[in-house]
C-alpha cells in the first residue's frame, strides 16, 4: 500500500507533493529550521567577504574603564560631559553623536542641590550653575545628535523627543511596515534644545534570539516613528545634520514597501520595514579614543576634523555588547560607526522584495526538472544531476553576494529539494532493483531453457550415435576383413553418417554420407538417409538401382532442399571384388603396399542425392588385393581449418599413407588426432567421419 502510494504516477506524484510542501515552507521563511540555515548561510557570505574598511570616517570617544577610574562613577556630571563635548568641538567634526540619553536632571542641578541643602537661599540657588544648561550650550557648536530610545509602551519618565525630521514625505508615515513607537525615552528639552537632531538607538535583534540565545545583530532600523513623528537612527541623523541644508531625507517606495532611503546624495538599500541589512567589516580598535585622554588634552583636536565623532560606552560594566555575523562581540556604539561607513559608501546587503520570488522560481524550476528527468536517468546520473544543481545554487548564491551583495539563499533551496530528490532517487533505485531482479529471473529462465535444450540435444545425440553401428563389436570373429569407423559431429548432432553390415555371408556393405549443412536440420535428414541406405541396398541386387531408389525416396519429402553426398561400396570378401557407387562424395583412398591410390569414381560419380534429381547413377567395380586398406572420409577432414589453412587432401593423403601397416582400429583415432592437432583449438568446420576397411584376403589373416 505504502509503496503504491509513493510510486503513483510513475513515481512522480509523491515527489511533487513534497515539492509543493517545500514551496509552502519557502513562502514562510521566518520559521525554524529554515531561518537558522538561511542566517548561517548569509553570515558565511559576510565572513568570506567582509566589508572593506579602508577609510576611518568615524572616531569613537569611549567612556571606558580607564575614564571611570580617573573621573569617577557613571553618570558623570553634565558639566564634565560638556567639557568633553567642548574638547571634541574644538576640532570641528562633521557631526557629533552622543549615544547617551539625558532623561533626568543632573544630580548637581540647583533644584536638586536645594533639596539636599535646606538652608539655601533663592539667590544662592539662582547663582548656582545649571550643568544641563552648560551641556546645552556646549551642544550648540558643530551639529550634534542626541540619542532617543523608542518604547512600544508608555513608561514612567517617558518623553517624546523634540526634534523630528523637519521635512519628510508624510505618505511614508502611514507605511504599515515601518516601526511605530507610542512613547520614547529622550533627553530633557533643555539639553535637546542645544542639539541639532535626535536619533533612535534601538537595535533590531533577530527573532531567533530567544531560541538560540545568540542574539546576532544583522539588521538595524533606519527610520521609525515616535508618536507619528519621523526619526532617523542616530548614525543616519548624524549624516543628515552634517549635510546641513543638503541633507533632505527621502524614501524610495516599491510595490512591497520601502526599498531604499536617501539622505542628500547618499542612498542605502533597505528592507520594506526600513531596516538596513548591515554589511559588517572586521572590527578595529584604531578609531577608539578614551574619554579620559580626550579630556586630559592628550589628543590634538585636529584628530576630529572632518570626521564623525560618537561618544559612547566602551567599558566592561556599562556597555551593551552585540554579536555580529562575523562572530565578533562589539560595543553597541561600534554599530553606529559601521552604519555611518555604510551610508558613506552607499553599501548594504540587498534582499529586495523580488529576491524571494526568484528563490521560489528556482525551487520550483529545479524541483520540476528533477521530477521530470530523474525517473528517466540511471541512479548515478540522477545523483550527479542533483549534485550539479546543488553546486549551481550554492555557487550562484556566493556569486550574487560577491557581485552586488545580494543575499540569495541557496542552502535553504538545497535543503528543501532534498526530500523530493530522495523520493525520486528511491523510486529510481526501486525500479533499478526490480529490473535487476527481473533480469536475473530471465537469465535464470534462459539458463534453465538452455539446460533443457542441452538435455534434449544430448538425448538427440545419444539417439543419433545409437543409429551408427559400433564397429569394434560388429564382427568379432571375422578374419577376412576388419573395419573401424568414427564420427564426431561439429555440434551436438550432425549430418554425417556411416554404415557397414553384411548383406549375406560374403558381401559386406560399407557406406558413408554427408548431408549438406550441420546441426539439427542435417541430423534429421541424416537419420532418414542412413535408414534408406541400409534398407534399399539390401533390397536391390544392383547398387546403381539402389542409389537411384534412395534418391527417389529422399526426394519425395524434402521441403528444405537438403542434399546428401554418399559413397556406397559392396565388397565380396571372398573374391575381393568391390562394387561401388558415388553421389558427389570424395573418392575413398586405398593404401596398397605402401602406395596411395584413390578409387576411380570419375566416370560413374553423379551429383549429390537430391541435388539434381533423377540422375541415372551407375555402379563401377574394381579388384582389391589382400592387405588393401580402404579409407572413406567426409569433408570434415579436408576442410578442417587452423584459422588460415585447411587440412586439405595433401595432408589427408600423407596421414593415411602412414596407416598402411597400422591396425585398423587405430587408424581412425590417429587420423582424427592429426586433424584436431592441426585445428589447434579452432572449432571444427564440419562433422568429421572416417571409416577404415582392410581386406585380408579370402582365407583371412591377422593385422
Amino acid at each position: 500500500m505504502f509503496l503504491s502510494v509513493i510510486r503513483a504516477g510513475r513515481g512522480r506524484a509523491f515527489p511533487l507533493l513534497l515539492l509543493i510542501l517545500a514551496a509552502g515552507l519557502l513562502a514562510y521563511p521566518d520559521m525554524q529550521p529554515l531561518l537558522g540555515i538561511r542566517e548561517a548561510q548569509f553570515d558565511h557570505y559576510q565572513r568570506v567577504l567582509p566589508r572593506e574598511r579602508d577609510s576611518e570616517p568615524v572616531v569613537i570617544v569611549g567612556i571606558d574603564s580607564q575614564s571611570l577610574v580617573k573621573l569617577g562613577q557613571w553618570p558623570w556630571s553634565r558639566d564634565l560631559i560638556a567639557a568633553l563635548v567642548d574638547k571634541i568641538q574644538a576640532g570641528r567634526p562633521l557631526a557629533l553623536g552622543i549615544d547617551v540619553v539625558f532623561a533626568e536632571r543632573d544630580r548637581y542641578s540647583p533644584e536638586i542641590l536645594a533639596k539636599h541643602i535646606p538652608g539655601m537661599t533663592a539667590n544662592t540657588r539662582a547663582s548656582l550653575p545649571d550643568p544641563d544648561e552648560k551641556l546645552a550650550r556646549a551642544l550648540k557648536g558643530p551639529p550634534t545628535v542626541l540619542a532617543v530610545v523608542g518604547l512600544s509602551k508608555a513608561l514612567p519618565g517617558g518623553r517624546h523627543p523634540s526634534k523630528p525630521l523637519p521635512v519628510f514625505d508624510q505618505d511614508a508615515a502611514r507605511d504599515r511596515f515601518l516601526p511605530h513607537f507610542v512613547s520614547a525615552l529622550a533627553s530633557r528639552p533643555v539639553i535637546a534644545s542645544g542639539a541639532a537632531g535626535e536619533g533612535l538607538i534601538n537595535a533590531t535583534p533577530e527573532q531567533g534570539q530567544a531560541d538560540n540565545q545568540r542574539g546576532v545583530l544583522r539588521r538595524v532600523p533606519t527610520l521609525a516613528f515616535v508618536h507619528e513623528l519621523p526619526f532617523l537612527s542616530l548614525p543616519l541623523e548624524m549624516v543628515r545634520v552634517a549635510l546641513g541644508t543638503e541633507g533632505s531625507v527621502q524614501t524610495e517606495e516599491g510595490p512591497q514597501g520601502m526599498q531604499a532611503i536617501r539622505i542628500g546624495d547618499y542612498r542605502l538599500p533597505v528592507q520594506r520595514n526600513g531596516e538596513l541589512l548591515l554589511h559588517f567589516g572586521r572590527s578595529s580598535s584604531n578609531y577608539y579614543l578614551s574619554a579620559a585622554d580626550v579630556l586630559a588634552g592628550m589628543h590634538d583636536p585636529e584628530i576630529f576634523r572632518s570626521r564623525f565623532v560618537i561618544i559612547g560606552f566602551n567599558s566592561t560594566g556599562l556597555q551593551d555588547r552585540v554579536v555580529t555575523p562575523l562572530g565578533e562581540s562589539l560595543p553597541g556604539v561600534d554599530i553606529h560607526a559601521q552604519v555611518i561607513e555604510s551610508v558613506l559608501a552607499g553599501q548594504a546587503l540587498q534582499r529586495p522584495y523580488w529576491l524571494p520570488w526568484v528563490e521560489m522560481a528556482v525551487l520550483l524550476g529545479v524541483g520540476l526538472s528533477l521530477i521530470a528527468f530523474i525517473p528517466r536517468l540511471r541512479a548515478r546520473y540522477a545523483v550527479l544531476s542533483f549534485a550539479l544543481a546543488s553546486i549551481a545554487m550554492l555557487t550562484g548564491g556566493y556569486l550574487a553576494f560577491f557581485a552586488a551583495r545580494y543575499l540569495f539563499d541557496g542552502a535553504s533551496l538545497l535543503l528543501l529539494l532534498c526530500p523530493p530528490f530522495i523520493s525520486l532517487l528511491g523510486n529510481t533505485l526501486i525500479t533499478a532493483e526490480t529490473l535487476r531482479r527481473n533480469a536475473e529471473a530471465q537469465l535464470q529462465q534462459s539458463r534453465e531453457e538452455a539446460a533443457r535444450m542441452n538435455g534434449e540435444l544430448d538425448a538427440a545425440r545419444r539417439i543419433q550415435m545409437g543409429l551408427l553401428p559400433d564397429t569394434a563389436r560388429l564382427f568379432p570373429d571375422e578374419r577376412r576383413f576388419s573395419v573401424s569407423a568414427l564420427l564426431e559431429p561439429a555440434r551436438a548432432v550432425g549430418g554425417d553418417y556411416y554404415d557397414c553390415f553384411m548383406l549375406d555371408d560374403r558381401r559386406l556393405c560399407v557406406a558413408i554420407g554427408d548431408v549438406s549443412g550441420k546441426g539439427v536440420p542435417a541430423s534429421l535428414f541424416m537419420a532418414i538417409s542412413k535408414t534408406l541406405t541400409g534398407t534399399l541396398t539390401r533390397r536391390h541386387a544392383e547398387l546403381g538401382t539402389a542409389l537411384r531408389d534412395i534418391e527417389a525416396e529422399l526426394d519425395r519429402e524434402n521441403p528444405e532442399y537438403l542434399f546428401v553426398t554418399a559413397f556406397i561400396g559392396i565388397l565380396d570378401v571372398e573374391s575381393g571384388h568391390l562394387d561401388y557407387v558415388c553421389a558427389g562424395h570424395d573418392a575413398p583412398l586405398i593404401v596398397r603396399n605402401g602406395q596411395l591410390l584413390s578409387i576411380d569414381t570419375r566416370d560413374i560419380a553423379g551429383p549429390p542425392l537430391c541435388a539434381a534429381g533423377g540422375y541415372p547413377f551407375e555402379s563401377a567395380g574394381m579388384q582389391l588385393q589382400a592387405g588393401d586398406l580402404l579409407c572413406l572420409f567426409t569433408d570434415g577432414v579436408t576442410e578442417a581449418t587452423n584459422g588460415t589453412d585447411m587440412f586439405g587432401s595433401d595432408r589427408l593423403r600423407a596421414a593415411i599413407a602412414t596407416c598402411g601397416t597400422v591396425p585398423v582400429q587405430d587408424c581412425a583415432p590417429a587420423l582424427r588426432n592429426a586433424v584436431r592437432r592441426f585445428e589447434a583449438g579452432h572449432p571444427p568446420a564440419d562433422d568429421l567421419t572416417l571409416l577404415f576397411l582392410r581386406w585380408h584376403g579370402p582365407t583371412g589373416a591377422q593385422d
Binding site: 532442399y561 537438403l562 542434399f563 553426398t565 553421389a583 553423379g606 576442410e639 564440419d686
Partner: protein
C-alpha cells in the same frame, strides 16, 4: 554480403568473393535473392563470377543448387564462371558441374549464355 554487378553482352555478371562457408551461406542466399527474382525467361542471363571465391562448403553448394532450381523453374539462365582450383575441385568431387553450368572464364561464359 556485397555483390557488385555489371552487364556484359546481355549477361548480368555478379562478382562473388571470399569464403562461402556455413555462416556466409545465409548471407549469400539473401544477397542472391533479388538477383534471382530477375532471372526469368527473356531477361538477361545471371552469371556468377567466382574468380574471387576462395572456398565453398556444402552449405554454399546448397545455395547454388537452390538458385539453379529456381532459375530453371523460371526458365531463366544461371551459370558460374572462373572457378579457382580449390573450388573447381569441390565442384568436381560433388559433381556440381552437372547441376550448375560452369565455365572457365567470364568471356567464355558470355559467348555461350549471352543473348
Amino acid at each position: 554480403m556485397n555483390l557488385p554487378t555489371r552487364e556484359q553482352a546481355g549477361v548480368l555478371i555478379v562478382s562473388v568473393s571470399g569464403r562461402i562457408d556455413h555462416i556466409a551461406s545465409e548471407e549469400f542466399t539473401r544477397a542472391l535473392e533479388p538477383l534471382l527474382t530477375g532471372c526469368v525467361k527473356g531477361k538477361a542471363s545471371l552469371l556468377l563470377d567466382f574468380s574471387a571465391v576462395d572456398y565453398i562448403s556444402s552449405a554454399g553448394l546448397r545455395v547454388l543448387m537452390m538458385a539453379s532450381r529456381r532459375a530453371k523453374a523460371q526458365q531463366g539462365t544461371f551459370a558460374i564462371a572462373a572457378l579457382q582450383p580449390l573450388v573447381q575441385e569441390v565442384f568436381a568431387i560433388s559433381r556440381f558441374n552437372l547441376i550448375v553450368p560452369c565455365y572457365a572464364s567470364v568471356d567464355a561464359a558470355c559467348k555461350v549464355v549471352g543473348a
